[in-house]
Structures are given as structure tokens and as C-alpha cells.
């Protein structure tokens, strides 16, 4: 008599969900303009067919399968299908260039690759011969692939068809597959997620099944997610955020994942789906706010007035109402009217009408930006997480939310601050190590099993963690003042006109910064002020743009001056870079984080110019176009001074030594 098996793998949850939520939607995908829906029982059917098809292709236990592409049902099914056979899915960033992808596939030793479309298949084919382990490639969309040699290249539908045929010929195989799933062990590796890595090669984070399930159960309970919830699955498949928030939480809670039609239709698809659980990095909220602001600036005067008026009402009462704090009746009435006139329609346009829980993480978020969305009645919170933790380290509780902290430890997570200020944690979902890199694993583990996050932070009086920077990036100016570059950069980036900033100052006399303007926001300003420009470069160098940015830097300095810890490192000089920082040029990671040391190398001359007192500098820079070709751009970059508050002005050049 079979015992009730422990629910310690995702495929076990698949079987359970097909039973308990059989007729409820598990997956939707907009295709040919229509939302196609799969219930949990149909999803089980699709996954089983693919798993059996893989078996027919010679899949064996322990095989690793790369998953490459955008958020498509079939790619998500691949995860569960591979897990159901005791294999390990290895999602890979779809926008990785062939070289990066080859490294990951080779390092992981993948045997199969499931790719979305021709673009990805081309990449895989370009290096297939160099990776001995990689035998077969399966693709989802056949467009453009019809005439490719079929050797070791398979259509997803055909693999499934083979699986279905095998099942029809011998129904026992279906039962055997289910037995296999039930026999699966929580100690099996569930997935390997390659970090995008701010420095060096990416590492394969190995996550085991039972730990992953446990972590997901904790947060699902924490936010009360159920099978009635739904999410829009639009985050990169290979990122821990997507795998955790959508896949892992979806399987344990049974909610519905909705795959957008394409990357460009995400906003429309979101409007149509109206998810109840939502995650977006701060920059997404920022661009949403920018687009709302721009639309409002084009609106009629009455509408503008209405907008300003009700946003003011929301600012006053919105967060209090959201947190169920006492609010005067007049405030409630004004807010209710505002909800009818503005917040409701606005949330509807943004696809946020149904949101119960929303998170942001990955970067610091501006207090104004954060409050704006919360004041509309959206329960936006912050979390702090890591791939190594299988996401959650901290999370804010409903009603206890602040913009400048990331919340207390998530359920069952222990946190401790090391002497050097580094945040250490131990969590239920934590990884079992970096794949084939025991030395690196040892580096991040403490003797008592805590994991070093590499981030510096401290606990505030209310028990919420505040992250200030990467631990290794925190440095000191020559006079000993603390220099936390990211903290300064974030202060600058809270201005909508500033898209990216890179601060320098460790071991220097003063702090200085590179700035990237936001082409949408500044471009819009230029349009309204009849300033013609042909390129980013031209706009970036415009004197009036410099004036605007100087104002922002001044304001950031004023705010820095108010914080005793940070007041020493105000931005004394800055320049606006002649090109946008770009992941294709290696300046940003694939998750759009600044690669500081790379930038310091690449723009060494400009940094020197910041510190030697020059007012402009001629530079030539190599750039990579979207199609992979390289070119050079050159520019004379102006360097400007900024006002510093609360301390004597410094020389704007370092003393010659």
C-alpha cells in the first residue's frame, strides 16, 4: 500500500494540482490575438506528453536540459517535464550572446536544449559542435526552421506527438511516469540557475527540490496566495525571480501563469489579464510613472488640474487608507472620489486593478516613486533576495512598509550582520552550492552555514534591514568619510531625467559621477522646449541639459548632507556620458546593473578628467550594435562642477603628487 508521498518536488505538485484544481486555469498564453488557456489537467497532459517524448529521444535520469527563450508555456512545461524524469532544467538568459550561452551550456554539461525560436536555435547551432554533451535541440516556434537539417533538431510538437503515441500504444508508460514522479526525491536537484554575475563568469546555483518547495510554501503562506490568484509571467526565464515567483509559487499554490504575446505587448497583456500578484524591478515602476507623467503633460489643462489635485489627495491619505490607519472622514470621501475619477481608471490602464500583493526588489526605489503607487491603493512592498537563497531573504509585511528598507527577515530566514557590515543569512530555500565550483561555494559560506550576500547593510530600530551597497564597493574618501557608491547613484537615479549614474571616490579627495540621461524623459522635455537633437549623444551634450542635471546633482547633495553617515561623499563634479550604458557593450549586466570595474577600465580617461580639473575631454569609444557588429563613436565630453552642502568647497582637482 503506497504511503502518502511527501510533497517535496514540483512534479508532485503538478499531479496534485491536476487533481485538486483540474478545471482551474494553470497557464494562459496570448497567441494569434487570443488568450489560450490550459487547465491544470491539460497542463499535466502536455507535460506528460513532452516528458515521454523526451524519453523516446533517449533522455535519462540526471540529464541537464537548457531552456532558452521568452516566457512561453512550452518552456515552462519543459521545467516540470525534465524534473519529472529526474533531470535538471537549466534556464539560460535569452538575450545572452552565443559565447556567454556556450559557456553556461558547456559548464552545466547540458544534453538537451529547448529553445523558443529560430534566433535561439541559430545561436545553439553556432556552438553545438564544440559542446560534446549537447546532443539534441528542441524548438517551440517552427518559423524559419522548416528547411534546417533535421538531424538532432526536433519540433516541440513532434516530440510531444511521439510521447502521446507512446502513451497510446502502451498506457502503462503513463502510469510508470507517474510512479516515477511519486518516487522522486526532495534531495534531487530541482533547477540550476546561472547568476548573471556583476563580475566574471556566471556561476551555476544548484537548488534542491525539497528546499525550493519549502521556500515557496513559506512565501505563498506569507502573502496568502491561492489558486485564485494570477500572475503575468514576463520576467526573464533564467532569473531566480521568475523561476521562484511564477513557477515555484505557481506550482505550490496552483495559481495561473499568463504568458504575454510578446515582449512589446506586456503592458497591453497586463491590462487584459489584471494579475493579482505582481513583481517588477524599480525601473519598471519608474518608466510607468514617466509614461503617466508624459501623458498628463500632453493632456488638457482641466485634466492636468484634476490629476494634480487627486494625486495630492492620494499622497495625503492613500497610504494611510491602504495600511488601515485612521483617516478623517473628509479624507476618505475625497479619496473615494479620487478613486472613482482617477486612481481606478489609472490602475485599470496600468493593469493593476486587481493587484493584492506587489513587490519590487533588485535596486533601491525612490521614496516618491514608491509612495506614488502605494497611494493609488496598490499594496507594493519590498523584498530583498538572492539566487543563492532561492529568492527571499527579507520581505515587508502588509502594513509595515517603508521605501528605504527591505523589511525584516522572511519566514524561517535567519539574518546576521558581519563585523564588516556584510549581511549574512540562512534560509530554507538556500542553495546546495555552485555547480562544479566548490571553492567558490566555500567562499560564500561561513563556518556555521550562513551565506555571505556581499551586500553591506544594517538593521533599523524597527527591525527592518537597510541595504546600502555592495560590501566590496563601500570605500572611503581620502579624508576617511564613508563612500557608498550605489547609495549615491540611487540618490541621483531618483530623478526621472537620470537613467543611470556611476559614482567614483574610493581613495580619492572627493566624489564624482558619470551620468546617463533618460532619453524618454529628457527627450520629451526637449520636444516641449523646441530643442532639436539627432541622437542621444547630442542631447546629452546640450548645455541646457547640463543645467538641468546640475540642479539634480545639487539637490542630491543637499539630501546626502542631511545624513550624517553619507554627508562626506557629496558629488563635487560630474559629466554626462556620450553614450548610454549598454549590456551589449558589457557595461551593464543582463539584469541591467552597472558593472563598475568594467566601466572604470573602459572610461579611465574620463575618470582622470573628473579629477584633474579639466573642463572637457575628447574620447573615442567602441560600441556594439544590435546585430553584433562593432563601431566607434567619439565625443568631447564636458565636465561640470556641482554645489556641495554643509562643508567647505574643495578644490575641483586632486592635488598633483
Amino acid at each position: 500500500m503506497a504511503q502518502t508521498t511527501m510533497l517535496d518536488t514540483f512534479p508532485k505538485y503538478l499531479l496534485l494540482n491536476a487533481e485538486r484544481f483540474g478545471d482551474r486555469p494553470a497557464m494562459r498564453h496570448k497567441d494569434y490575438g487570443i488568450w489560450q488557456t490550459w487547465t491544470w489537467s491539460r497542463q499535466l497532459d502536455e507535460i506528460r506528453a513532452f516528458a515521454l517524448g523526451l524519453q523516446a529521444l533517449g533522455f535519462s535520469r540526471g540529464d541537464k536540459v537548457a531552456v532558452v527563450g521568452a516566457n512561453r508555456p512550452r518552456l515552462y512545461w519543459t521545467f516540470a517535464a525534465v524534473q519529472s524524469l529526474g533531470g535538471v532544467p537549466v534556464p539560460v538568459y535569452a538575450d545572452a550572446v552565443a559565447e556567454e550561452m556556450a559557456y553556461v551550456l558547456d559548464h552545466a554539461g547540458v544534453r538537451f536544449a529547448v529553445a523558443q525560436d529560430q534566433e535561439q536555435v541559430d545561436k545553439l547551432l553556432s556552438f553545438r559542435e564544440t559542446i560534446p554533451a549537447l546532443t539534441d535541440i528542441v524548438y517551440d516556434e517552427s518559423r524559419g526552421l522548416r528547411d534546417y537539417p533535421r538531424e538532432r533538431l526536433h519540433d516541440f510538437a513532434e516530440v510531444q506527438a511521439a510521447g502521446r503515441a507512446a502513451l497510446a500504444a502502451d498506457p502503462a508508460r503513463g502510469r510508470a511516469w507517474e510512479e516515477g514522479v511519486r518516487a522522486g526525491s526532495g534531495d534531487d536537484v530541482s533547477v540550476m540557475l546561472y547568476t548573471s554575475g556583476t563580475t566574471g563568469r556566471s556561476k551555476g546555483v544548484v537548488l534542491t527540490a525539497a528546499a525550493s518547495v519549502k521556500a515557496a510554501l513559506d512565501t505563498v503562506r506569507f502573502d496568502g496566495l491561492t489558486e485564485k490568484d494570477s500572475v503575468l509571467a514576463y520576467l526573464p526565464l533564467a532569473w531566480v525571480g521568475d523561476h521562484y515567483l511564477n513557477f515555484a509559487q505557481g506550482y505550490v499554490s496552483g495559481f495561473c501563469m499568463n504568458c504575454p504575446e510578446s515582449q512589446q505587448t506586456v503592458a497591453q497583456d497586463m491590462r487584459e489579464i489584471g494579475p493579482t500578484f505582481y513583481f517588477a524591478p524599480p525601473r519598471v515602476f519608474e518608466s510607468l510613472l514617466t509614461s503617466v507623467t508624459i501623458r498628463m503633460e500632453d493632456a488638457g489643462r482641466f485634466k492636468q488640474w484634476l490629476f494634480r489635485h487627486f494625486i495630492e489627495v492620494a499622497r495625503k491619505h492613500g497610504e494611510a487608507i491602504l495600511e488601515k490607519r485612521p483617516v478623517p472622514l473628509s479624507g476618505r470621501l475625497a479619496y473615494a472620489l479620487g478613486d472613482f475619477m482617477l486612481y481606478g481608471p489609472l490602475k485599470n490602464v496600468l493593469g493593476m486593478s486587481n493587484i493584492r500583493v506587489a513587490y519590487t526588489a533588485g535596486e533601491a526605489i525612490g521614496a516618491d516613486l514608491f509612495s506614488f503607487f502605494r497611494s493609488l491603493g496598490i499594496n507594493l512592498k519590498q523584498l530583498y533576495g538572492q539566487t543563492e537563497a532561492f529568492l527571499y531573504v527579507t520581505a515587508q509585511k502588509d502594513g509595515q512598509v517603508r521605501a528605504d528598507t527591505v523589511g525584516p527577515a522572511a519566514p524561517n530566514v535567519e539574518i546576521r550582520i558581519a563585523d564588516n557590515g556584510e549581511v549574512l543569512f540562512r534560509s530554507p530555500g538556500q542553495f546546495s552550492g555552485y555547480y562544479k565550483e566548490d571553492d567558490k561555494t566555500a567562499e560564500v559560506l561561513t563556518e556555521d552555514g550562513f551565506i555571505r550576500t556581499g551586500d553591506a547593510g544594517f538593521f533599523e530600530a524597527d527591525g527592518q534591514l537597510k541595504i546600502i551597497d555592495r560590501a566590496k564597493d563601500v570605500g572611503k574618501l581620502k579624508d576617511g568619510s564613508l563612500f557608498a557608491p550605489k547609495y549615491i547613484e540611487n540618490m541621483l537615479k531618483f530623478f526621472p531625467n537620470i537613467k543611470e549614474a556611476v559614482a567614483f571616490g574610493d581613495g580619492r579627495d572627493f566624489c564624482a559621477a558619470f551620468i546617463n540621461i533618460d532619453l524618454t524623459a529628457v527627450g520629451n522635455w526637449a520636444e516641449r522646449n523646441n530643442i532639436a537633437y539627432a541622437s542621444y549623444q547630442e542631447l546629452a551634450g546640450h548645455p541646457r541639459v547640463y543645467d538641468i542635471i546640475a540642479g539634480h546633482v545639487n539637490e542630491a547633495n543637499r539630501r546626502l548632507a542631511q545624513e550624517p553617515m553619507m554627508a562626506g561623499a557629496q558629488v563635487a563634479r560630474f559629466l554626462i556620458l556620450h553614450k548610454e550604458l549598454d549590456a551589449d557593450d558589457g557595461e551593464l549586466t543582463r539584469t541591467q546593473k552597472v558593472r563598475r570595474s568594467f566601466i572604470a577600465d573602459r572610461y579611465g580617461e574620463l575618470i582622470e578628467a573628473l579629477y584633474d580639473g579639466s573642463t572637457e575631454k575628447y574620447v573615442e569609444t567602441e560600441v556594439t550594435f544590435e546585430d553584433g557588429r562593432k563601431g566607434r563613436i567619439s565625443a568631447t565630453v564636458r565636465i561640470a562642477d556641482a554645489a556641495v552642502h554643509g562643508r567647505p568647497a574643495r578644490p575641483h582637482a586632486e592635488a598633483a603628487e
Binding site: Y32, G33, R143, G144, R146, D147, S262, Q264, Q268
Partner: protein, 278 residues
Amino acid sequence: MNAHPAIGPALGQPDASDDGIAKGEVLLKVDNVSLSFGGVKAITDISFDVRKGEIRAIIGPNGAGKTSMLNVVNGFYTPQQGTITFRGVERRAMKPHHAVRQGIARTFQNVALFKGMTTLENIMAGRSVHMHRNVFWQMLWHGPALKEEIEHREKVEEIIDFLEIEHIRRTPVGKLPYGLQKRVELGRALAMEPSLLLLDEPMAGMNLEEKEDMSRFIIDVNQQRGTTIALIEHDMGVVMDLSDRVVVLDYGKKIADGPPDEVKNDQAVIDAYLGVAH
């Protein structure tokens, strides 16, 4: 580079245009055509053919008579001399909408779209040739008419998917940037499922990236849908990569005809493009 080696007809996906002409046979034949406007000769005694399944380019410097040639083929102009044979039938004077019905679709150099309508409506308009239910059925608006509408919508959605314009499905095309308008126009022409697709300077006014996108779409249309394409281009580079055979016009006369590599090295062509005096 020959962008697409000879590839057999689409497996599994039948050629959209069922015109009874086998691949490689002559689909359109232009014989000794001359056209003049009140004494000004636009085209003089031009002959060439387009074979089923190929990408045929008509190139030449500005004012060479390329667009006039296209307008003759699709019935905007009736030539004073010469004959045009399409799908084996010699054609008399005809109107553009007859050409459409015979299976010739085209795009325009300066984009002719229904600017007030959405992308979807524009491409649906391309289906109108294939709609059969009459006014009264449509007014009753159910049964067969609805079913037909759904079938057309499916075809249109395939095209939208093909051209990757899902995100602008409901946007009025007047608001779209030029490169996307060109794509929508191509979509509308595709919706007609033509035997012969005429493209009038499909890359005009585009930046490099848009040109590459458009080239890819043209090749995909040709390979995957099996559509025969005749295109006019001013930009030699693009054409040479795309087409199977090239006709070169200059001052309304044909000066060369052949595969791209051959044409590229033809002295007359080089002279014409360099502007050597005649």
C-alpha cells in the same frame, strides 16, 4: 552572397496562391512594353519576365522608369505598346482592382495606408478581395458571414504574428513610425495572398536596422509563404543580397538583366549608377 539557395516548395504549408503555375515557370511576362505621357517616354520597349517563386528586382537610378513599370504591371497605367501576360493570359487594358483580383498585390513607395484605421483593420481590408458573403448576409451578421469573418481574422492574425506587429494591432496606423507603417502595408498586401507581390522601394527612408528587418521579412515571405516577389529598389546593395535575378533600367530602357553577380559587374550598369553621360 546568395541569400536563399533554391529550396523546394514549402513542405506541409501549401503555397498561399493557388494559381496553377509551377515553381520556376514564367508567371509574368512583359513584352516590348512602351509607355509615354504626352510625348514624354517613360518606358521604351522593355521586356522581361518573372518566374514563379523567385525574388525579382527592378533597379535603376532615379527617373529610370521603375515605378512606371510597376504601375503598368498592376494596371494603374495602360501601355501604348507591348503586351503583358500574367498567369498565361495576355491582358488588355485593365483597372487596378482587376489586377488585385487576378492576384497582384502591391505596396507603395510613400506608404498608402488607411491612416484612420488600426493595423488590424488595414490588414483586414486586404482580405476584402477574398470575402464572399454579400451585403445582406453581413447585415444579418451571423451564421456563414460570421464564420467567414473568423476565418479571415485567423489569416490576418497569422500575418500579424509573422510580421511581429502584435503590439500595434489596435493602434491607428497614422500614429505609427514610418518603418512600422511599411510593415503594416506589407501585411495588407500579404493578406491578399497574391500570386505576385510588387514592392515599390520597400526600404526607402529606413535606417540600417529597419532595412535589415525588412529584408528578413521579404526573404521569409518568399521562402515560407512561397510568394513570388518583384521589387523595385534604388539601393543596389540591398537588392543584390535579396534577389535571384535583377533587371536594370536606365532612362526607361533595359540595360541589363541577369543574376545579381553578373549585373553588378556589367559595365553599362556601373556607368548608369555612376552617372556617365549618354
